[in-house]
């Protein structure tokens, strides 16, 4: 079952961000490593910069100091994708011509132009993650791989988590599980806690809101629960009003997970509109503008159903 040994100072992944001191991405105080590239296109996505599996240019117009003082990017771009209109001084990006080559980034003094995503080796990531090891010991935390879809970079993720275990660091992943089973089986042996989404029950609605149906997700999860009885699984649903905030979905999810003793909890994550400004920076359009975060009353009602299913009525496990 062992793969050929990997050279952890050579194998590279595309990292979006390494976030220290996360408290919502698994047990204890954690360091979350966001891997770039996703296999779904959820319309409520709050991290649009994590979707494409390659480095991607972003532009914050408000930081641009203008072509009169600077203008280096206009000369640097080989695709003529940066331009300026006479009526304003700041540059504009023609996203249809941009190839994300990144040549404009180093010549932009105010960092209005920047690239989302950089290549890092397994060891580079581990060295940064290990800096927080004192906090992990205190809090029972560790490393969490998130995304995008962290399983899309399966070899890198597996090497990273195996390396973390070697350094005595607890591991977790956040996944939507819409990948080939080969990827799941490569990574899961090195994971202590699997936080996985169950976004919608109905396949057609799943396709409408995320771009693909949920057949592979359900098949993968069932197989994962059965193949790895000793791992801890936690199901999660991002609650999006008008999309999946109904009792029916909560009950269907409970029915799906309850037969498996290794699925230890089911969490609801309220939708927040934090991502929308980032869509503008990437030249994309945010489609969820009419949606509001769910009310506390709604969340409480749905959580009560879960507490009942997990036999903790009157004594909820969470705050």
């Amino acid at each position: 079952m062992e793969n050929a040994p990997v050279n952890t100072s050579v194998l590279k992944g595309i990292i979006l961000n390494i976030q220290h001191f996360s408290t919502h991405d698994g047990p204890g105080m954690r360091t979350t490593v966001f891997l770039k590239g996703c296999t779904l296109r959820c319309k409520w996505c709050s991290n649009p910069e994590s979707i494409q599996p390659k480095p991607e240019l972003a532009y914050n117009l408000n930081k641009c100091i203008g072509k009169d003082q600077c203008g280096f990017c206009l000369k640097e771009c080989p695709e003529s994708a940066i331009f300026n209109v006479d009526s304003d001084t700041q540059v504009r990006i023609n996203w249809d011509l941009c190839t994300n080559c990144g040549k404009c980034v180093p010549v932009c003094p105010p960092q209005a132009l920047y690239l989302f995503g950089q290549e890092m080796t397994v060891n580079e990531v581990l060295d940064e993650v290990e800096q927080d090891s004192a906090f992990y010991r205190e809090s029972g935390g560790g490393i969490t791989l998130s995304g995008g879809e962290c399983l899309l970079q399966a070899d890198f993720a597996a090497a990273l988590l195996a390396g973390a275990h070697q350094r005595g660091i607890n591991t977790a992943i956040e996944t939507a599980s819409n990948v080939s089973w080969d990827f799941m089986v490569k990574v899961l042996p090195h994971v202590d806690t699997v936080l996985h989404d169950i976004k919608l029950t109905d396949p057609a609605r799943h396709r409408k809101w995320t771009g693909a149906d949920n057949s592979r997700i359900r098949a993968n999860l069932k197989r994962a629960y059965e193949t790895f009885p000793d791992k801890k699984f936690i199901a999660r649903t991002p609650i999006i009003p008008g999309v999946n905030d109904d009792e029916e979905h909560i009950r269907a999810t409970l029915a799906f997970i309850k037969p498996y003793k290794n699925v230890v909890d089911y969490e609801l994550l309220p939708y927040m509109r934090f991502g929308e400004s980032k869509y503008g920076f990437l030249g994309k359009v945010y489609e969820m503008q009419d949606f509001e975060p769910p009310s506390p009353e709604l969340l409480a009602r749905l959580r009560a159903i879960i507490d009942e299913a997990f036999d903790r009525n009157g004594n909820p496990a969470r705050e």
């Binding site: 209109v85 023609n94 693909a212 920076f281």
Partner: protein, 386 residues
């Protein structure tokens, strides 16, 4: 080298505008005179890239007999493609994973396989760049510009603008009646994110009291002063036309302060441009609302905002657009006959010319300070907010 074009295709790559069928008719009739065959590609390039989606195939044979019966006022028979492009085609792969793939190579191969010698694309400002890239990859292409905002560079007139303008004028005249009767100030918002042609020309045509356009940041105190002069016992209403992209002058009192602000969201979206920390939320409607709210405080009159928005893009074309569509369609065929490629048909009075796509992209045709329309507006006593 003489290249004889025998079979050409036409498609729509932009948003809808009145009278797109006139362009098809122009292409088909002009091609027929040369003995060429014309195919229509459905939904931008989808008819070629995903023909299996269409029960009758992705290509539609366009004959003079067919176009004779096309309604000039009806919606375009070919469909269009506003937010898709062959360089980023979203698909679900064999692993059920969603991905965006570059299918420009496939597209060019499909064009060759279907023995299509050249494509005439009727497109808006955004699709110009996509067609420019396809041209660089070897596709023979001639573009016809459509824009109800008339913001495409290198042409004096984009197809669809005249019809939108006529409809806007017609509607604003009705708003005047309502404003007159209710003794209020009507604030009408029209399309125009970067270019104020529609607001300015419509405002002149109806003799509005003020016209606010993106090119001239406005100071509402000045607009209010002008309205104060004009509104009296005998004329108890006001009429303001505002382009959706009009913005207040720096230093003038901000007008978005009254819109609900979410401080948490704002703090998390430091680059946001909209109210409450939003950045890409549809701006349509916010210009009229902001101007109406603020004017209401600065004048004695009640105000009411009205947003025309995309309404002006529907309906039948005017005589000008019918002629322009037929002319553009025929000229595009002439360009191909003259072995031109990678060009856009442009109306530069009194001529229809062909300009390289490179001259049209990365530009926005805005209203210059010395525009004759600005002069006319000032002569008529229309306040421009500065």
């Amino acid at each position: 080298m003489q290249m004889s074009t025998k079979r050409i295709a036409v498609n729509f790559g932009g948003s809808y505008v009145p009278g797109l069928n006139a362009v098809i008719t122009g292409v088909v009739l002009a091609a027929n005179e040369l003995g060429w065959e014309v195919l229509g590609i459905r939904d931008g390039f989808d008819g070629l890239l995903a023909p299996e989606r269409y029960p009758e195939g992705g290509l539609l044979k366009l004959t003079p007999q067919l176009v004779e019966n096309l309604s000039a006022g009806g919606s375009a028979i070919l469909g269009n493609a506003t937010r898709t492009d062959p360089f980023h085609v979203r698909q679900v792969n064999a692993e059920n994973q969603v991905e965006e793939v570059d299918r420009s190579g496939d597209l060019i191969a499909k064009v060759a396989a279907d023995k299509i010698d050249a494509v005439i694309s009727v497109i808006g400002p955004r699709a110009l760049s996509i067609l420019f890239r396809l041209h660089r990859q070897g596709l023979r292409i001639v573009c016809v510009p459509t824009s109800v905002e008339n913001d495409i560079a290198a042409t004096q007139l984009s197809f669809g603008f005249n019809s939108a303008l006529s409809f806007a004028v017609d509607t604003i005249e009705r708003v005047r009646q309502a404003a007159q009767s209710a003794r209020k100030i009507g604030v009408v918002e029209v399309l125009g994110e970067h270019a104020g042609w529609l607001a300015l020309q419509a405002g002149i045509a109806v003799c509005a009291d003020a016209v606010l356009i993106p090119e001239i940041p406005y100071d509402l105190e000045k607009v209010a002063a002008k309205l104060g002069e004009k509104i009296n016992a005998g004329r108890t209403y006001g009429l303001v036309v505002v382009a959706e992209g009009a913005v207040p002058r720096a230093g003038a009192r901000p007008v978005v302060e009254t819109v609900e602000t979410d401080s948490l969201k704002a703090s998390l979206s430091p680059g946001a441009t909209g109210p409450g920390g939003s950045h890409v939320i549809e701006r349509s409607g916010s210009a009229a609302q902001a101007v109406a709210l603020h004017l209401q405080r600065l004048t004695d009159q009640a105000t009411y905002p009205l947003v025309l928005g995309p309404l002006v893009k529907g309906g039948p074309p005017t005589a000008v657009d019918r002629q322009l569509g037929l002319g553009y369609g025929a000229a595009a065929v002439r360009a191909l006959h003259e072995n031109q490629s990678g060009v856009m048909v442009a109306f530069q009075p009194p001529d229809l010319k062909f300009v390289p796509l490179a001259e049209a992209i990365n530009k926005v045709r805005t209203v210059p300070d010395n525009s004759v329309f600005i002069q006319i507006a000032r002569s008529l006593g229309i306040a421009l907010g500065n």
